[in-house]
Amino acid sequence: MNELRPVGAASRFAPVARNPGTPLTLDWFEDVQVNLSAAERRAASIPARRSVKKNYQAAWLVKALQCIDLTSLAGDDTPGRVQRLCAKAKRPLREDIVKGLGLAAMPTVGAVCVYPAMVAPAVKALEGSSIPVASVATGFPAGLTPLPQRLAEIRYAVEQGAHEIDIVIHRAQVLLQDWAALYDEVAAMREACGEAHMKAILATGDLKTLRNVYKASMVAMQAGADFIKTSTGKEDVNATLPVSLTMVRALRDYGELTGHQIGFKPAGGLKTAKDAMNWLILMKEELGRRWLEPDLFRIGASSMLGDIERQLEHHVTGRYAASSHQPLA
């Protein structure tokens, strides 16, 4: 049961080449138009136009689970707490449920996401699994510490063994439309990441307008982001479907212009199995089947896994599940 499929490399697909970025190209986004009401209408229709039931629903929930960046970003995180999180990451479902679903192996989550100081215990706890450790960095969540410190933080996390770095952008650069500054900083961060994959958190709740969201997405990708991510979870508005729609359309446009495949990670506020389904449908509808694999799609969440477990238990047993029956993270 512990045979693990390597994460992020679904056998049926060619691996995703890293995004080398492009020079800052204002033409690709400066005149962009994003209509809020239209984005809201489309976002509202996504869960209404698709419904996934029975075995399909179970499979889609397992897929969601495989795409979760199981996250703990709290001030009271300790090595012990992180170890528990990692144990859950490795065995997110009870064995009877896995068996009931007819899966050949225990599925695992996409990654474990922690603060830099918790990378080392996470790496240790996940040793032997192929689950990557992601670390937030660059003065998370506000990103307003001096650039050298922010870059040093990235290098520290990478040295500690992080495979993925979730950086935050400097929101003022978007609000002031200072694209060159934003580009330079994100490019420097990408350089600091080295081999580690970089997810650029746009903190869309701070950017407010969808045009800002699109522009920031495009600059982050031009600067070499492997993933673009909505939120830190600390802004007053987290991931929403209209914001996500705007970001996936930006990465689709970037893909058409450069041929590079960029990943997407909604984070913050996604708590239920229904949320997971909505975002999976969004990915499939706007980007296609390829974007339903953890190398191009992640969900930043901490409590969602519990709800998915309960839904899957219900699928297997036909009885509604109690949360106390699922092992704690």
């Binding site: 209509n35 209408r41 136009r49």
Partner: protein, 791 residues
Amino acid sequence: MPSVSDILDTMDYGTAPESSTHAVAWLNEHEAGFGHFINGAFTKPGAKGFDVSNPANGQKLARISLGTAADIDAAVKAARKAFGSWSKLSGHERAKHLYAIARIIQKRERFLSVLETMDNGKPIRESRDIDIPLVARHFYHHAGWAELIADEFPGHQPVGVCGQIIPWNFPLLMLAWKIAPALAAGNTVVLKPAEFTPLTALAFAEICREAGLPPGVVNIVTGDGATGAALVEHAGVDKIAFTGSTEVGRLIRKATAGTGKKLSLELGGKSPFIVHEDADLDAAVEGVVDAIWFNQGQVCCAGSRILVQEGIAPRFLTKLRRRMQSLRVGDPLDKSIDMGAIIDPVQLTRITELVEKGKQEGGTLLQASCELPTAGNWFAPAIFTDVEPSSTVMDVEIFGPVAAVMTFRTPEEAVQIANHTRYGLAATVWSENINVALDTAARVKAGVVWINSTNLFDAAAGFGGYRESGFGREGGREGMSEYLVPSWEAALKPAVAAKAAPLSALPPDSVEASAIDRTAKLYIGGKQARPDSGYSYSVYGAKGKAIGQAGLGNRKDIRNAVEAAAKASGWSSATAHNRAQVLYYIAENLSARAEEFTARLRQMGASAKEAKAEVEASLARIFWYAAQADKYDGRVHNTKSRHVTLAMNEPWGVMGVVCPDEMPLLGFVSLVMPAIAMGNRVVAVPSPRAPLAATDLYQVFDTSDVPGGVVNIVTGERDELAKTLAEHDEVAALWYFGVGVKMVEAASAGNLKATWASAKPRDWLSRTQGQGAEYLRRAVQVKNIWVPYGE
């Protein structure tokens, strides 16, 4: 079913069928067939009947009775009987009935959605999320109008028995659009649902019974075109409301001509969908999905002519093609389906034939490569490129999931192409620039304009078309007017059609002495023009002597006058203040000549007192319409949150005004002034017996800064000229006061112009009868512009 592991690999959606258990149980209960709903009870299934089937699989759903003329007669009689007490109920009592209907519909939402989808073939997502919620909303909204009727429409009463004929594309929603306002206003109805889709109407009949609606208030007779024709022709019907094809609309216009039946028509369209270069292209692409792939494209207001600015066309088309490929077509009861089945093999054949024609004419068809079910009627989503305005598929309403795409260079050209159609139902405009968006919305000829959105509907907004897309509005305040008439009209008596001798160009026997001979010519384009015939006719005074000559106008004079009026389009875009000033100036100059006009009226037989009163009333009336010019505004409807829905009053353009014989000056002023105050240009035909009061106005107009072509006057035989006006396709509306109502209404069917025709002389001196909001309402058409906003 594939295993979880397999699905993890394919990540297919699978199927998510909505259960049809309850709908099937209901159909089984009625296995013996459905009767009509007449006088609060279902009749026994008729001897003659027909089957309705599920468009998605061809399977029979139910046996339906074929309504005969006798069934229609029974239903109309029941409605007439019920009208007496129903119309006398207080608004509050009627509101309670409508509220009960709304509540029950809400409780039955899922059942009605499933039944609608089975009967019509539309995706359950649409019936569940759009059709049925709008049905409930419509009844709630109109429960409100019932409550407010006495306050909001004082001096009005219901029309009577309304015959309503609805199409198959939104069966229950169209029923709601028809029945809710009719009942709210106090009418009773006989409704004939479409032959293909009668089931939700029959379910609605049960709801009426459950809600305790008094018998006869709502009657439903199922059947085919002949059943509908029997309803249209029934003498006991006071109003016909029809939604359907322009072709049938025209037949109904002819059939009801001269019967006194009030008429509203909501007909076909070939609506433009304009994408400017500064649009949110992804949003506009999604708009196309909602425009032409909504309800399989079987939507009268579907954005079927996609006009894209040339520079962005390649990118837009790339996005559109990709989006089209991701549409899922199939079992409409599947919750993951975007497009369902075409209503009937007949419609599928029509779509296929038009598409073939489009290809033969050189168009390139791009069609989604989705898999289609084998049973049932299916057509994959498609777009045509390489088409021109002259292409059939750019011109003819396909009523299927096929849009035609062409490019334009400038916003100016977009409007030009958009308006190059006989229709005028709806238009969609995509632009993030408020100037471009509102300018396009203002200039496009359509009853509904959606900015950065498409196919939005709400009970509080008016819906209906310009041009050959029909007349009348449904929804909101505008729609209520269609089901009400001024109370005083009931007492009017038809004029006795006196056999009048034809106008004669021969010399008169005796002439009343006058200082200098004055012969009135015609007044066209701000100039006096000789009649094309080269003849004048003698006008006789009360004493039987000729008091002057007037031009004997003919159809060519009408043609010239209409041309002059069409050219004077600057009047329609002038400010209302400017128009008011001109009207005041007319009054000022008429006042200066008051004695002359009084004398003229006396010549025609008015007493000194009467003549003075008529001139004074005319002056007051001109002032009244001058005052209204900048005050009869539109409204902002309360529809959805963060939307401004503007109901703008727009002039028709060129109007024909055929004046009554009584009150030769005041009658003319009472009709021409509201028309021009609202920005129309008018071709007026004065009373043929007493044209001189009108022709004397030439000099008043000349001195009052009335731009040439705004008021054109053609004298001559009234009905001959009226017929030419009625048949003229450039004339958008026609007012006619005379005995030839039937001829005028029938002749107006050509371009389905809105007519206001009455053979019942009214008291023009009365401020209630001779002036008022009704004149203004009939002088404009309402354009509803939807403007969603937000950043």
